[in-house]
């Protein structure tokens, strides 16, 4: 075991980033022209990084597996993006955003990183507005805000329920501009399948052209992985179907440490599973908890229609248990509370694995306000409902529509049924303060790294982090690394390291194509997902995790004996793409269980049944586990743990209370 150096700059917290920026090395404009940078991924993190680096003069190659960079999974983010602008005058500040994020993460993140994130958050909003991102505005023409879970201020900027779309299209437009001037070469429908290491430095990648099946070599002076999260290890999640771990996992196999892999976020408000054909789960944005109230019947197995259950027979369990934050407790807390009620037999719907998210009282409240505004002195009940429905539709219309399309129920009239689902992964490749992994030249941005959210991410903070990393952090820190490369000259793709990497990718593809079993890739993916959800999901135990590890090992063996990948490798072959990704998920799942087993405490999204308080809250163990668990690949043996101790100099870890 080694101790990891996070390279956190010295000095007072609030000055670290400023001082660091002032002291790190730069690459002058003429030299940037002879430096190549590979950016894998064009989500918020990748598109913003690629565009910014290209603007600065670096020669950038960007990659994504979709048919266009505009389709990265970031596009699906609904609710909003945080920034410490304090436009509401409600007491927000950089320090408060920093504090909320550290506390929300259950004291398992790095103070210096989080503070920097809060500092640059304000620049992000400026940048996006300048690009023409149409954020929601008030009648006076200024930007509007809403609230998200785990905080008591309104600092979330939004564009209806399509914030991720609008931010990504902004970054995509900046990227497109750099493509048009030739500073970025864009490779869409390309999947990176290995990192190439030359003399201990990341110097390129092997990518598969998904249309032709050809393997390509691309070299550069640094490689940035901005490849998103790995929630799809659970098969069912709110992530897009293609989201995967392959890029970071291949880097992990090459020596990059994987940090806190078991920290996964289960989002409390998703549309419940309806059948075994289900391919993904749909999120109902956290913004709905601004106005919606969550409840279950007070009676077990109550089969009455929700509208027929009188007020006094409803249990608004979040408001009951957490009066200070009510329906806006952080996600991990809300998810566990829903599970607790359903496990205790109070769940609703056919499966009994759902709770209600109710808009009736919000419609009444908004309807009355609106009638007052319009000067209608004695509005009828029907009129109030009509007005209230209009207000709710203007705020959340597209989410309500989506719910109706999927379930066939009208959420304006009957409460939505929701249940927690896998949503986000706080874990990821370990990076230092400069966002560089332990492999020199390999940088990791966005959801793919582990850096800022500790054991639980607050809502509207992933968009913030992705854009912070890409627009405002890596453009500085990359220069410091590349300052040594101004005389290196272009990297040859004839280096033996490229031969070797390409061969190992080709060997893996041949192996998968030649198994010729009888089971589809999805069969294995679903089986893995079930193990993960049951044993490494919302609640974990030593016994369950040990079982899961051996089950996953057995499943992996079966996969390599029984999977059938049809077609050939020299053509567009979506089944082969899935097989390569699932092969990596089958290894990652095991590592997640090791990590969960190692962490003998409950914190944030990681809940070990053995470690809880009397009233069922997470019981942290700061004495022993106040560290980042960074795992080295075991090459067939158990993974090796490295620790980075977390030092809290500015906030004192305390028991999180939202009561």
């Amino acid at each position: 075991m080694s101790v990891l150096n996070s390279k956190i700059p010295a000095g007072p917290l609030a000055d670290k980033w400023k001082n660091h920026k002032n002291s790190i090395r730069l690459v002058n404009p003429a030299n940037k022209r002879s430096i190549d940078v590979i950016v894998v991924g064009t989500g918020l993190a990748g598109a913003s990084a690629a565009a910014s680096l290209a603007e600065m003069g670096y020669k950038v190659k960007a990659f994504c597996f979709q048919d266009s960079p505009r389709r990265a999974h970031s596009i699906a983010a609904q609710g909003g993006i945080n920034a410490a602008k304090n436009y509401r005058n409600d007491g927000d500040s950089v320090h408060r955003l920093f504090y909320d994020t550290i506390k929300g993460g259950d004291y398992r993140s790095r103070e210096a990183n989080v503070h920097r994130l809060a500092e640059v958050s304000v620049n992000i909003i400026d940048q996006c507005v300048a690009q023409g991102v149409p954020f929601a505005r008030e009648y006076g023409g200024l930007l509007d805000n809403r609230s998200f879970g785990g905080v008591q201020v309104s600092r979330t900027f939004y564009a209806k329920g399509q914030t991720g779309q609008q931010l990504l299209l902004g970054a995509y437009s900046a990227l497109s501009r750099q493509v048009s001037v030739g500073q970025v070469k864009m490779y869409h429908r390309h999947e990176m399948l290995d990192v190439v290491m030359i003399d201990g430095k990341a110097r390129g990648i092997i990518a598969r052209n998904l249309v032709t099946g050809e393997l390509e070599r691309h070299s550069a002076h640094a490689v940035l992985l901005c490849t998103g999260g790995y929630g799809n290890v659970f098969f069912l999640s709110t992530n897009a179907m293609g989201s995967n771990v392959t890029a970071t996992w291949k880097a992990h196999r090459k020596g990059a440490y994987f940090a806190n892999p078991c920290f996964t976020q289960i989002h409390p408000t998703c549309i419940p599973v309806s059948g075994d054909y289900q391919s993904k789960l749909t999120l109902m944005s956290e913004s709905l908890r601004n106005d919606g109230r969550i409840w279950v019947p007070k009676k077990q197995n109550d089969t009455r229609r929700p509208v027929d259950i009188p007020e006094e027979e409803r249990d608004y369990y979040l408001e009951r248990r957490y009066p200070a934050f009510g329906n806006l407790v952080p996600r991990d807390v809300a998810s566990r509370a829903a599970k607790e009620r359903c496990d205790a037999g109070y769940g609703v719907g056919q499966s009994k694995m759902a709770v209600y998210l109710d808009y009736a009282s919000a419609i009444q409240r908004y309807g009355t306000l609106e009638a007052n505004k319009l000067g209608e002195s004695q509005p009828s009940a029907q009129r109030i409902t009509e007005l209230g429905t209009q207000v709710v539709a203007s705020k959340y219309g597209n989410l309500f529509e989506m719910y109706e399309k999927i379930t066939g129920d009208n959420p304006y009239e009957t409460p939505m049924r929701i249940y927690p689902a896998v949503h986000y992964t706080m874990g990821g490749l370990w990076v230092d303060y400069n966002l560089m992994s332990n492999l020199p030249g390999l940088f990791v941005l966005g959801e793919a790294n582990f850096s800022d959210h500790g054991a639980n991410r607050l809502g509207a903070s992933a968009l913030m982090q992705g854009l912070a990393d890409g627009y405002f952090v890596v453009p500085y820190t990359l220069g410091d690394y590349l300052a040594d490369d101004i005389r290196t000259g272009s990297i040859s793709t004839n280096d033996p390291a490229f031969d070797e990497a390409e061969k190992s990718v080709q060997d893996q593809i041949n192996r998968l194509m030649n198994i010729g079993g009888s089971k589809s890739v999805d069969y294995f993916h679903k089986a893995l997902g079930k193990i993960m959800w049951d044993k490494c999901g919302m609640a974990r135990s030593e016994e369950g995790l040990k079982q899961a590890i051996s089950e996953i090992q057995a499943l992996r063996e079966e996969f390599y004996a029984q999977v059938r990948v049809p077609g050939s490798a020299n053509e567009m072959n979506p089944e082969l793409e899935k097989a390569i990704r699932v092969a990596d998920f089958l290894e990652l799942g095991e590592l997640m269980c090791y990590d969960a087993l190692n962490r003998n405490e409950s914190c944030g999204g990681h809940f070990r049944e053995e470690y809880q308080t009397e009233d069922g809250e997470a019981l942290r163990n700061d004495e022993e586990y106040s560290y980042v668990a960074a795992w080295e690949y075991g090459h067939g043996k158990a993974p090796i743990l490295h620790k980075e101790d977390l030092n809290f100099e500015n906030v004192k870890p305390s028991t999180r209370s939202y009561k």
């Binding site: 913003s48 910014s52 603007e55 979709q66 048919d67 266009s68 960079p69 505009r70 389709r71 999974h73 699906a76 602008k85 400026d126 940048q127 996006c128 300048a130 690009q131 023409g132 149409p134 954020f135 929601a136 505005r137 008030e138 009648y139 023409g141 200024l142 930007l143 564009a159 209806k160 399509q162 991720g164 779309q165 995509y172 437009s173 900046a174 497109s176 501009r177 897009a240 179907m241 293609g242 054909y277 289900q278 391919s279 993904k280 749909t282 989506m402 399309k405 066939g408 627009y471 405002f472 009888s518 089971k519 589809s520 999805d522 059938r564 049809p566 077609g567 567009m572 979506p574 089944e575």
Partner: protein, 248 residues
């Protein structure tokens, strides 16, 4: 329920394609259309056949990747709905469903139901942006924008770049897509400095890509899953004309 599917199969861009018949039993009305396709593909794999290739990713109606022409309509029979958000409860037991790729010269087929829409990216590259480098932006609230304009710009900006408008149009025109982006930026103060140049460059790129002309049939607006208004085409035409006159 039981369905008869007629699906376009085409091995590659160069190969000839044809319609192939499949029968699918036990389709659950709660499934989405793409989940129905998943079930078909599972069966094909198990039988030793090649599954049907189709584009998809988010399955939430936002990434714009899914693109099926279903019973003669882009994204199928429901208005305001992408293929991934279409559910089988809108079909009946015994129905025959014809599934084809987008058809347009500017969107060549890659395989089966997948097409190449990179022409859209090139149109955006021609001018669908505001030229602002990272770090040079003023405070976000320095410039108030009337809510009405911001809302109109937002509506235009919700285009998901799916290409249903092109697939639907008998001329394979891309004007709804292009009009939406030109409108969004021309409605915002940030878009003003490059307004004229943008309109000219994007329209010229659109023509270069081989998209057809608009003859005002309005089919695109009807089939657009995001309800992008045809007014955006009118606005684009005005922007283009004004820019051309200014250029002279």
């Amino acid at each position: 329920m039981r369905l008869n599917l007629k699906i376009w199969r085409q091995k590659s861009a160069k190969a000839n394609g044809k319609m192939v018949d499949y029968t699918l039993n036990e389709v659950n009305p709660e499934m989405s259309f793409l989940e129905m396709m998943d079930v078909l593909n599972q069966q094909l794999v198990e039988w030793g056949d090649e599954p049907v290739a189709f584009d998809h990713d988010c399955r939430e109606g936002i990434c714009g990747m899914c693109s099926m022409f279903i019973n003669g309509r882009a994204h199928g029979p429901m208005t305001g709905t992408t293929t991934c958000q279409l559910h089988m409860r809108h079909f009946k037991d015994g129905d025959t469903i014809v599934i084809e790729p987008w058809r347009a010269a500017a969107f060549p087929v890659i395989k089966d139901l997948m097409v190449d829409r990179s022409a859209f990216d090139r149109i955006i590259q021609a001018g669908g942006y505001v030229s602002v480098n990272t770090g040079s932006a003023p405070d976000a609230n320095a410039l108030p924008i009337p809510k009405e304009n911001a809302d109109m710009a937002f509506d235009a900006a919700t285009c998901i770049g799916c290409g249903a408008c092109v697939a639907t149009c008998k001329n394979a025109s891309a004007m709804l897509f292009v009009g939406a982006k030109i409108s969004q930026l021309s409605l915002l103060p940030q878009g003003q400095p490059e307004r004229e140049e943008r309109a000219i460059r994007m329209v010229e790129q659109m023509d270069k890509e081989g998209f057809g002309n608009c003859t005002n049939t309005g089919a695109c607006e009807v089939e657009c899953p995001k309800g992008i208004s045809i007014e955006n085409i009118a606005r684009m035409n005005r922007e283009y004309l004004k820019a051309k006159i200014a250029q002279k």
